[in-house]
Structure formats: structure tokens, C-alpha cells
Amino acid sequence: MNEIIMRTERLNKAFSLGETIYAVSDVSLYIPAGKIVAIVGPSGCGKSTLLSLLGGLDRPMSGDIFLERQSFRMLSEDGLAMLRRRKLGYVFQFFNLIPHLTAIENVMLPMSFIGVSRLNAKKRAAELLAQVGLTKRLNHLPLQLSGGEQQRVAISRALANNPALVLADEPTGNLDSSSKNDVLDLFKMFNAMNGQTFVLITHDASVAGIAQKVVRMVDGRVLEEK
């Protein structure tokens, strides 16, 4: 498992807020396949901006990102969308579930984009929700679920299309300690079971504790990689 699933080449991203502020500055790193990688650092150090660049949700000012040798720079907006739907999964701090869809419908949603039949999508979504312990909550709306349960639905949704890489932005930032441990256990479980790569953005040392590689950022720069 020494393969590299993703690497970046001198990424730069700046925002103009009266003065130009570099959120990501000259970042070059690699994400090994099949590992859990944590990107840690204090608030405002550019972690989330880096994650949005890695996920193809935003474009860098300069530099490039390669996912399994596919250059992001070479892709159009639609090309990036196709890449996101097939190879990337996302987990957010605030879950970002569609409020008027049930748990199972939320998990089925990404599969509708790659042409999975409704029947198969439902079957797979039920399996995933069973794996995260939500068998009895399939038809509940997000508002009827606790924070920990919502995040477990979000993890199931991120894994729906069996992506090579799952990006999680402060996945436990909005959870109590019990739910946090449940979520971290799930990351470890899916990593071990499916060999999927997880990139976790966090400022929580205990979250970083489950990672096999830790990237520390300060002021938009990568300070060290362990």
C-alpha cells in the first residue's frame, strides 16, 4: 500500500479582503492510498480551503492536483463534477443532509447521478445505513435524527458510490464525545474493510490520533508531515 492516490504541486489560493491573504501557500503534499490522513492546524490556517481544493470544489490560483494521475487543471467544471460523483466522497461538520429527504433517500442521492437503478440504490443505501447502525432510522428525516445519527447518514452518503477518497471537514466538530468516538470508529472500520482513503480536517488531537499520516498546517503552509 505505498501507492499515492492524490498529490498536490505547489498549490496557492488567496482571497482578496482589502489585502490579499494566502489561505493556501505553496502546498505540495501526497495522500497515500488506503490510509487515514489528518490535516491539522489552528483555526484559520487554511485547512478547509485546502480540502475544498482537494475535493475539486474550488480552483487554485496556481499549482495542480492529481487524483490517480488525473490532473484537476485539465478538467472542465463538468469534468470535475463527474470526478466528484465517481471518485470522491464528502463529510461536513454540519452534515449537510437534504432536509426534506429521508435518511435512505439522502444516501441514495449520489447513486442517482451515476445511473444506479432506484431499486439497487435503495438496496445499497439500506446496507450502508445498516453498517453504520441506522437500520431502524431509514425513513426518518434529518431533523428527526440526533447529530451523531445525522453524521452517520452523511458518512453513508459519502460512501454510496464507493469512492476512492473520502474528504471530511471537521467531521466530529459538532458532536458530543460519544458520537465522536462512534464516527471515528466508522472511519477506521471502512478504511480497514474497504481500503478507502480518508482525509480528515481537524484541530482535535484525538481525531488526528486515528490517522496513519498527519499533515500540520500553519498560515496556509504545510509545516510538517508525519
Binding site: 475544498s52 475535493g55 470544489l57 474550488d58 467544471e77 463538468d78 463534477a81 463527474m82 470526478l83 466528484r84 460523483r85 465517481r86 464528502y90 461536513f92 454540519f94 449537510n96 443532509l97 437534504i98 442521492l109 449520489p110 447521478f113 451515476i114 452518503r157
Partner: protein, 454 residues
Amino acid sequence: MAIAAAVVTSGMALSQGIARRAYIEYRTYYQGDILVFTPTYVGAAMLHQVNSRIKQAILYDSGFNSLLRLYPHFGATGYLAYEAYPYVPISLEQIGRLRTFSGIQSAEPTLLMPGRVGQIDITLKVTNNDLENHLVTGRVPHANAHNYGSLEIVVNAHGGIPANLGNIVTVTVPAFGVGASGIPFVDFSSAPQEYAAKVVGIAEWPTRELSYFPPGVGGEPIYEQGYVHSAEIYLAPSAWEQIWHRQAENLAYPVLSASLRVDNLSRLNVIAAQLRSAFPELTIKTVPEVARHVERYNLLDHFYTLPSHVWQVSSDAVTHEHVPVEFGLAVSLLLFANAGMLLAGQMLSGVAERKKEIGILKTLGARRSDIVGMVLIEGFLLASIGSLLGFSFIRLLATIREFGNQAGALSVIYSTAKEFLTVMSLTTLVSLIFSAIPAACMANLTVMEVLRNE
């Protein structure tokens, strides 16, 4: 949205609600399939009396005056206009050409003459066989004789004429003179002649239901069955000719309109189009067109639309403004635009609320085209629900009305299907046009724009 669509569809559904039986009545009444009028007859001098909104309207029947006595509010609406006949006839040469036109079975001039029975203004008309058959087999209960003698008549039952079978009525007819340009006119300076005539038939010619507001301010509209011409006396051709020659001496009949029969009704519109092309100087209307117009506007009589170049001549002569827009169509378009704006407003107001949803969908891999498609489909569904609700409600009313007019089930099914297709086509068009901007707004949202606002 649903209310707006209901209003829009109502106009369309009801405008098509001309039943088969009603069509037969009109055809019988007008004594043909296609009506031909002279432009002079339609235009010119009487325009100044027409309501400012409708400058092409004219009621050609001299019975109009008695109608106004019965229904004075009709005059107040301004929908009716009356003027003595200008008497510029369709020429015999034109009648001859019409008779030999391809697809035309017969072309008969409509012969009219003003007169009076007591104090009631009437029109003396010429009957044809259709009227005779209609009296025997149709809806007139009293008619059992159709042996028109020289002055035996069929009267309209609703003209206020003492119309009992066998009654002798006195018909007063003015003299006719010749104007400076050789055009016949009613000579009121000469003493009229009186003719005794025996009532041998009574005809009723109801149009559809009329609605109007009572005189004065306020009040609910009144609904009642209306009659196209309320003061008419139908004469056998020989009787009509006899009176004409006594009142007008050797003047030729002023043919102001003609009724044409086509040999194949399925080609009616085609033949009418060919006639319009061949006779640009005449106003040519099919009976269904006339009937539709009468039904749509609840008018006692229909409009005659002049060919543009003829109108130019008329407007030069009387310097009147021309209003070419069909009011109902304009209102329908306006309502559709309003419905569309409502839809666009609804969708646009959803953009802000749905930013997060769009951001999530894009994160999950939705392309711009996926978002656009989704919004357009939502717009279509929203508009369709409104249209279907409106259409169902109004179509139900129209169907009741059609069956009330003894329309056949097949014709009701046909018109329902046709209207449904029209409504859904327009709904699709409106929803696409007015959902396009909201769709573009939503598709242009970037994921980061949404996530940063979290």
C-alpha cells in the same frame, strides 16, 4: 399560480364551447356556410357610433331599434351600432364569380329591407328552404304550415310582433330612392306603404346565454337567453320582390351580403382562404368563425373584420383609429405572462432558500446541466399542477354548457382533447421561459459560495 392558470384556461376552454347544435342554428340562420359582405357596407359612416374599444363592430339589422326598446341596456354598453344602410351593393358580376368559384355549391344574395309593424322596426328578409325545414322539423312548436303566399310571412317570435299563427299583421315599408352616386337609400320623405300579411310560421333563433349589467350603477349581472335578431319577418322570395318593386320601382336589389354553400364542409376553411385571396375587396367569414365570435363576446351580432387595404380606405374617409387587437387574445396573453411572472417569482424566491441544497448537490457531483434540468422540471410540474386544476374546473363548466347545447359526446371529447393539448403546450412554453432565469441563477451558484455562508 393555480388561480392564475385557472383564469387563463377558462377563457380558452369556454371560447371553444360551440356545440354542434348551436352551429347548425347559426348555419340555418345565416343560410349558408360562408358569409360575404361588402366593405362599404361594413365600414365608413357608422363607425363613429361604435364603442371606442371596438371600432369594427356594426349591427346591420334594422330591427336593432326595436331591440333597444326591449333591451335598452344593450345600447348603453356601446357594443351595438346602427346606421341606415349605405346600400353599396355587391355587384351582380361578383355574385356570378362567387357562384362559379371552385368548391362553391351556391351563392345567394341576402335580401334585406327595413320596415315596421306598428311601432316596431323590423327587417324584411327572404326565406330559404332551410328555414322552412327548420320550422317543420326544428324547434318551433307552432309551425305547421309552410305555404308562403304572396304576403304570408314567418315572424320572429321575440320581436314583440303580434305573432300568432293566422294573425294578419300590417307591415309598413318606406320608399327607396337613388342617391347622388346611384346608390339606393331609404327615402323617409315619401309616404310609406302598408301591406297586410298573414303569419304562417313563427321562428325562434336563440344565441347562447347573454350576460349584462342592469342599467345604473352596481348590481349583479343578469343572465338570459339572447336572440340574434329580435324583429324579423321572413318572406317568400316572390313576396319580397313584390314589395321591393312597389317601393323602389325599377331599382335593382341592393345586395349587401351573400350566403355561400360549399360542396364539401370538410374543406370549409380551405375554400374560405381561397375566397379571401380571390376577393380581397370583400369581407369573408365562415359560419363557425361568426358563431365563435358571437359566443365568445356574448354579442347579439358578430364583428366584420375588414381586409387591411379596405380598412385603410375606410379610415381615410372617417379618420378613425383602428384597434386591430383581439381583446380576448390580448387578455389571455397578458394572463399567461402574469402566470409566468408568478412562476418566475416563486422559483427565484426559492433560490436563496435552496442555496444549501444546490451546494450539496454540486458537491455530490451534479453538473450545471443537472441543476438547470431539475429547476426546469420543477417549474413545469408547478405550472402543470396549476394548469390542470384550472383546466379541469373550467372544462367541467364548458362540458356542462356543451351538453346543455346538445353537443355530441364525440365532439365534447374532441374539443376537450384539443384544448388539453393546447393548454399543456402553452404551460410547457411558459414554464420553460419563466423558469430559465431561476434555473440559471441556481446553476451558477458555486459550492464555495454556499459553504462559506454556512
